[in-house]
């Protein structure tokens, strides 16, 4: 019993640590002052201003668009790559894996500049396409890195057994391997989405023509003071995510009951 209480306390403390700044953000989205330092009374005005602010809404749109697309594309690309890499012979596996590490271990700014040089080299117009491509470049390695441990844990003979029993490689992939590594894929997808939403440097260098995302807007404000409208937006995004999660949770619960679990 004691150890259970201890576990709960520990989990609670860590989550408190992770959520404390978010609580601050939410509280200050109702602050009647532009300044972060002082509390000047309760207001809804930042929320009202948010919906009048075409630039921030446009940035939100691009942020979500790029995050969803790059998460999906890099998950597909990364999952297949991971399966392929896992089945490669020693040396080429090593080389591929190490190359794959490059975008992870390079400082963001270096990935950003090198990609910018590449796009310039190919004379591409900077904008949504270049931003999306660059996001896929730095998201995919993370997908691979979260799928690979799953593959390592999987029984290697599982797929072979399936194929011995007459399954085509594609069928074995779909029915045996993918379900087995699904948690890794989901983690990878979540990670890609998260990294994409949070990225500033790579987006900044690889966009243009008035395509910008929330990070760029936030950073550009950081010299003159972050507009609390951004806090209001973050609060709304946060709350809607929580609601979405609760709905999903309720649904799976209901499904489980219906299925008699």
């Amino acid at each position: 019993m004691v150890s259970r209480g201890l576990k709960r306390l520990y989990t609670f403390l860590i989550f408190l640590f992770l959520y404390a700044p978010i609580i601050v953000l939410i509280v200050f989205s109702f602050n009647n002052s532009k300044s972060r330092g002082v509390w000047a009374g309760f207001t809804f005005k930042w929320y009202i201003e948010l919906f009048k602010d075409a630039e921030i809404l446009k940035a939100l749109y691009y942020t979500l668009l790029v995050a969803v697309l790059s998460a999906l594309i890099s998950t597909v690309l990364g999952t297949f790559a991971a399966i392929g890499i896992y089945n490669m012979p020693g040396l080429s596996k090593k080389i591929t894996l190490n190359l794959n590490y490059l975008p992870v271990l390079n400082p963001d700014i270096v990935t950003a500049v090198s990609l910018m040089a590449l796009f310039r080299f190919f004379k591409m117009e900077f904008g949504l396409a270049t931003m999306l491509l660059s996001h896929i470049v730095f998201c995919t390695p993370y997908v691979i890195l979260s799928v690979l441990p799953k593959l390592k844990q999987m029984n290697k003979h599982l797929a072979e057994a399936a194929m011995d029993l007459g399954a085509t490689p594609f069928y074995a992939l779909r029915k045996v391997i993918i379900p087995e590594i699904m948690p890794g894929i989901i983690t990878g997808c979540l990670m890609a989405f998260t990294l994409s939403i949070d990225d500033f440097v790579i987006s900044f260098f690889n966009t243009g023509n008035n395509v910008s995302n929330l990070s760029i807007e936030i950073f550009s404000m950081s010299r003159r003071g972050i507009n609390p409208v951004i806090n209001a937006l973050s609060t709304l995004m946060f709350v809607s995510l929580i609601i979405l999660l609760l709905i999903i949770n309720k649904r799976t619960e209901k499904n489980e009951i219906e299925r008699g679990v």
């Binding site: 576990k7 992770l18 790559a81 089945n87 992870v104 700014i109 500049v113 990670m191 500033f200």
Partner: protein
């Protein structure tokens, strides 16, 4: 195995988007000239000569030191959490994993900013401390604040890979060990820990690398008093405009990280060999 073919599209992708850009960076690192005008580039080792002076080496040392400490803290804090989550019932488990990820959906600059409100001299924590009757603490603009920022930002990257590995460990293995008379500590150190090694290694790399190259955290929470290598790289690319020097510093940073990884992956293999030929 035919399966390796499914990686071919990605290999082509890597050639274009990883290998070519890498050569561009190498090219920058070994040349000098006007960064915005390729025609002026000339081969030179000056960038490296400039880096290997005490001033810059000191910055590199500091960065590695802070990143190392924060990685250790993340591991110590993160492993128990990953373990607790992996032992929870499935529905709660998924919920907690999501709760780890959700904070990252709020812009990290904003979240790091929010720490200022908590840690500042007249911030919330000091407010509570003085109310209880203690002296206010210096919580911000020092190395401890930078470490806190690193742990705060990168902890989920440690927990998630370890968790992913832990839930895959077969219960029967643990039961078998218990049946054979192992106590809780033995089960953990002889079965669970070795089996979770791949996750730990991934976690370490995923925390150490962003920590060693961060520039926002040291700027916001460290008060820019002591720059890290990430700040220097950032400065070259975004303020000074000397992309050549910036590139050579990144190359050095990359080599450094590669060495670290080579060391950890060696460790990884040995353990895996002992863990029953998982590779």
């Amino acid at each position: 195995m035919k399966m390796k073919k499914v990686a071919y599209p990605y290999i082509l992708w890597m050639a274009i988007f990883i290998v070519i850009p890498l050569f561009l960076i190498l090219y920058f690192a070994f040349t000098t000239g006007d960064s915005q005008n390729f025609a002026t580039f000339q081969f030179s080792l000056d960038n490296f000569k400039r880096f290997f002076t005490p001033t810059y080496l000191k910055v590199l040392g500091r960065s590695v030191n802070l990143a190392f400490i924060s990685t250790i803290i993340c591991l110590i804090l993160g492993y128990p959490l990953a373990y607790i989550i992996s032992k929870a019932e499935p529905r709660k488990r998924n919920m907690m994993v999501l709760m780890l990820v959700i904070p990252m959906w709020m812009n990290f600059l904003l979240r790091t900013y929010a720490w200022l409100t908590l840690l500042g001299r007249n911030g919330f924590i000091n407010f509570v401390i003085t109310k209880i009757g203690f002296k206010p603490l210096e919580l911000i603009y020092n190395d401890k604040a930078v470490l806190l920022g690193m742990v705060y930002n990168f902890l989920p990257f440690m927990v998630l890979p370890i968790y992913t590995v832990l839930i895959k460990i077969e219960k029967s293995l643990i039961e078998a060990a218990e049946d054979l008379g192992a106590n809780k500590i033995e089960v953990f150190s002889k079965v669970v820990l070795p089996l979770s090694m791949p996750g730990i290694i991934t976690g370490i790399t995923m925390v150490f690398i962003p920590a060693v190259s961060t520039f926002v955290i040291s700027a916001l929470l460290g008060g820019n008093k002591y720059n890290l290598i990430g700040n220097l790289v950032e400065q070259q690319f975004r303020w000074t405009g000397d992309w050549h020097f910036g590139s050579s510093m990144s190359i050095i940073l990359m080599i450094f990280i590669l060495i670290t990884m080579a060391l950890t992956s060696k460790f990884d293999k040995e353990k895996e060999g002992g863990g029953g030929g998982l590779w």
